[in-house]
Symmetry: D2
Subunit: 304 residues, 4 copies
């Protein structure tokens, strides 16, 4: 297969790539991962699969799951959702309190931590059993009932989640958190603990390349219009304060996580997931971005 | 023609659109324009033209010309250019000194004022007769030798350009302006004074929808890779701190100016220019954005 | 007595003073106070008393008690204390997260909320029964065993203390809170709930005008050097971002609270307490500052 | 004399003080000074003189002269002056654009660069021959017709004064500079170029310790009330973002300059000038502050 060969070619080229990134260690549990893991998986809208390396090994997808939380919240609240969270890039690190204070407790977008905490609050308001209902939604989109939260990661994040608690309290002081902080934060820390393989991740996100419909099950997850809008938010805000750089180099909407995962979408074509745990200074997978830049350069296609 | 009909349909729908925007008045000369002007022009990569309303009336394209300055500077300096200016959205208003100070005089992107001043400095360094050479470049891209600077606008901008002078001095203090400030700012104020009609604007920017080649003359303006990257910067940064919102609503890379103009690019399809002088609070054409949102909703195609 | 006559004279002059201030209402319980209360009490280092108006009515001294917390913490940690909290004015509102983030969790001074939370943490570390031990210390300085925390105020502050919780969590994320956040914040909210009359307040703070010694009991509270330094911190930082203005107008070191109280010190002469619940926009007693400005103008003496 | 002996004693103690400061080098001319110079001079309100070390050598007093500019502007505009400049400490470095932008072009106080530029603008508005008239005023206060601007320093400051030009342009954009920027900045750069010896400096500032009257000539420079207020501003704002620290350690109102000079006032007692060119990280004389801290500790008197 062409993609398969391309993965091998790019990987060969990356032998000489000196990865100066560092594995995330601010969450103790994440620091334990093998830094040399590397996996890629691409799934096309016509259901073809192309994997490479450690594509079938589970890793913590971390912030990538914020796209799924946004997806569910968007179906529940429609455009009202954006009264409580913006769609603008933040221009500052992902956990900045400064901007949140200046903006009166309205986070810039749903992918910075503050924004995902607001989305968590929305889901806690709507769902009967928030954590159970949400993981069922993810299992449905993933067409995989094994997807689950990771208790160890939850515990690890809680042990050092003081800055996230600060964000939640600040937003509560502005009235932008409606539920009990501890319940919202328990949901949030669980949200960030989901584990998937590259293959699962790529398949799960394929609906965003297919007008909101899972190609495997024909389930409608989102309307075409909302699908475009989530892709747009990923393009603008998916990589913290490196979103412009990713768009400049790779040219696809995508989302990263501090576990070293990245998922990117080529509308009407494919979804691709990469995993390499060492992060650059902006908190995005160093080798993952490099791989994707070479990939879209070689295929000579991007959304631009 | 289909686009022509669509323009009429959308325009009819906009009869009931209550435009709360305000004409830019911080530059005295801009305040004199008729606020009810409205023009649209779309040019396809296969050279078809579709105009509507005041599409053949000149207006001050203002910051839109920053894309052309970036285009020329990018061909002259290649990727080195991005050592002196970033590609990240700013997340703050277009003329903020705060961020520039925090970033040690490196502007976030080439479209905020500070970034365009750096680009002006680059062009002043490279060009023998900077203003003459640049306007010739624009005339070539536009395939129109009548395009010119507007002296009245230049004088008007200089009379109140203290904040831009502050930006230039701050960057000079960080060593990121190489030439004499007055020469650089004279170039910058001229750059912002260019006038075009919607038709001219749409035609001029068509190379960005066509892999860097002017379809009318087959002149290569940029490489395909650089073309994609400029489109990406427009997507991320083309609308000041409303870039995410434009991307969310319209889904195309584009660039606005405080004269009320917007140009947007659908790669491999068309370039579209809209003009409506009343601006929203973020400094972008209020009705222009509304029109484009309805246009991409109706055509059901965007890059996402 | 001269001071007594002066109080009457100034009060007469203030009949025409139109007090545009507002009673603090962000803490529900504080909003219930009678806004027209007005009391003054001055105690000299040679033990003379001069009262006026509602000088014997209890009110919530709020942040004024932070000086007492600092006093005790300073005796326990000496100059080491200032590794965890600065002595610089903040230049920003009293509960700003922005500056705290920029300063890596080290509060500018012990009188902004973040600084008083660090002082609370220090006391929680040192004291066996923090709340009991601290109120005993206050009772000793006040020579009054009736001084106590106010449960209603504590409950009221806790019900809306999300921003303070945000400050505490942010500092914990930087490692500048050592104890459990809930224990520290319980202490902090109690600290802010102490009630005194103007007479009690004036008498309690007299040691700061007397080289650290209570004139009534000859108890040494602080060394002369530390006493000067606390006076200096009050001068620089005692009135949030209005410290310069107070120093400019009144010329004495002092401390205010959102309950409308102010205490000011004239070293080697007297301690004066004023109470008027309506606050100006900076959160300091509006009429209280006016009274003190007229008082030091009339007496023609200040520390400058 | 007691002070003379004390200077010697403190100086002996400072033999073992390891001065880690650096001579200011951002103005080329300042970088040429001998870093080991050290002078002290104290003048009492009863006209006694006490000098030590290089007390009779000229140095660039730099920002210290801002107190004299404020003094003259205050007599010309009375309290109206404070509509255009505040009296609050800035909490940020002395040349910050960020705060100035947030405060709409109103500088926090007359001693940060932006504030002194506004004061310069006020003097340019009032004085017929601004530079000549101002230096005459300084000569009168100093009772010394030799005091003058230093052309070399002016030229040196202008060659690298881009940040100050940025401040002036930013304030002009907010309407807080009334005159031509180049004229105002020429005045400002001259203001900062004045040279004095420690003896001259100490004598010149003595009126601030003597209710506004020069003890030597009995000339009234300021009213007693305005004198107190200038002392208060020095206390709050005289040492950039180290004002609280100086007040904490030394306990006297004072003003520093990047030439390594410091002048401090003990109201009704004396004026003391110190000169040591090596600066700490906040831009204040490192050894100078240490000397003054030991001096007020030894004399056991400060305003607190």
């Amino acid at each position: 297969m062409e993609y398969q060969k391309l993965f091998i070619k790019i990987n060969n080229g990356l032998q000489e790539f000196h990865d100066l990134g560092q594995v995330a260690d601010y969450i103790p549990e994440l620091g334990k991962v093998n830094p040399n893991k590397f996996g890629v998986h691409l799934t096309t809208v016509d259901k073809q699969h192309f994997g490479f390396g450690d594509a079938n090994e589970k890793f913590s997808i971390q912030s990538i799951s914020k796209v799924l939380a946004l997806t569910l919240a968007y179906t529940l609240e429609d455009e009202n959702l954006f009264k409580r969270v913006g769609v603008e890039p933040s221009g500052t690190p992902f956990n900045s309190l400064f901007q949140l204070e200046a903006d009166n407790g309205i986070p810039r977008n749903p992918f910075i931590n503050a924004g995902a905490i607001v989305i968590s609050d929305v889901l806690v308001s709507h769902l009967k059993n928030p954590k159970e209902d949400f993981i069922q939604f993810v299992q449905q989109v993933a067409e995989n009932s094994e997807i689950s939260f990771c208790e160890r990661i939850v515990a690890s994040e809680k042990s050092c989640g003081f800055r996230n608690m600060a964000l939640a309290n600040l937003m509560k002081s502005f009235g932008n958190i409606k539920n009990d902080i501890d319940e919202v934060m328990d949901f949030y820390f669980n949200l960030c603990s989901i584990e998937m393989t590259c293959q699962e991740l790529s398949k799960t996100f394929l609906f965003l390349a297919n007008h909101g419909v899972c190609p495997f099950t024909n389930t409608i997850i989102l309307t075409p219009s909302k699908t475009k809008r989530i892709n747009s938010i990923m393009q603008s805000c998916g990589f913290y304060d490196e979103a412009g750089e990713f768009s400049f180099k790779v040219g696809l909407p995508g989302k990263s996580g501090v576990g070293g995962g990245i998922v990117a979408i080529h509308p009407e074509k494919y979804s691709i997931a990469v995993w390499s745990p060492k992060l650059n200074k902006k908190g995005n997978s160093n080798k993952g971005i490099e791989f994707l830049e070479r990939f879209t350069s070689e295929t000579k296609i991007s959304i631009f």
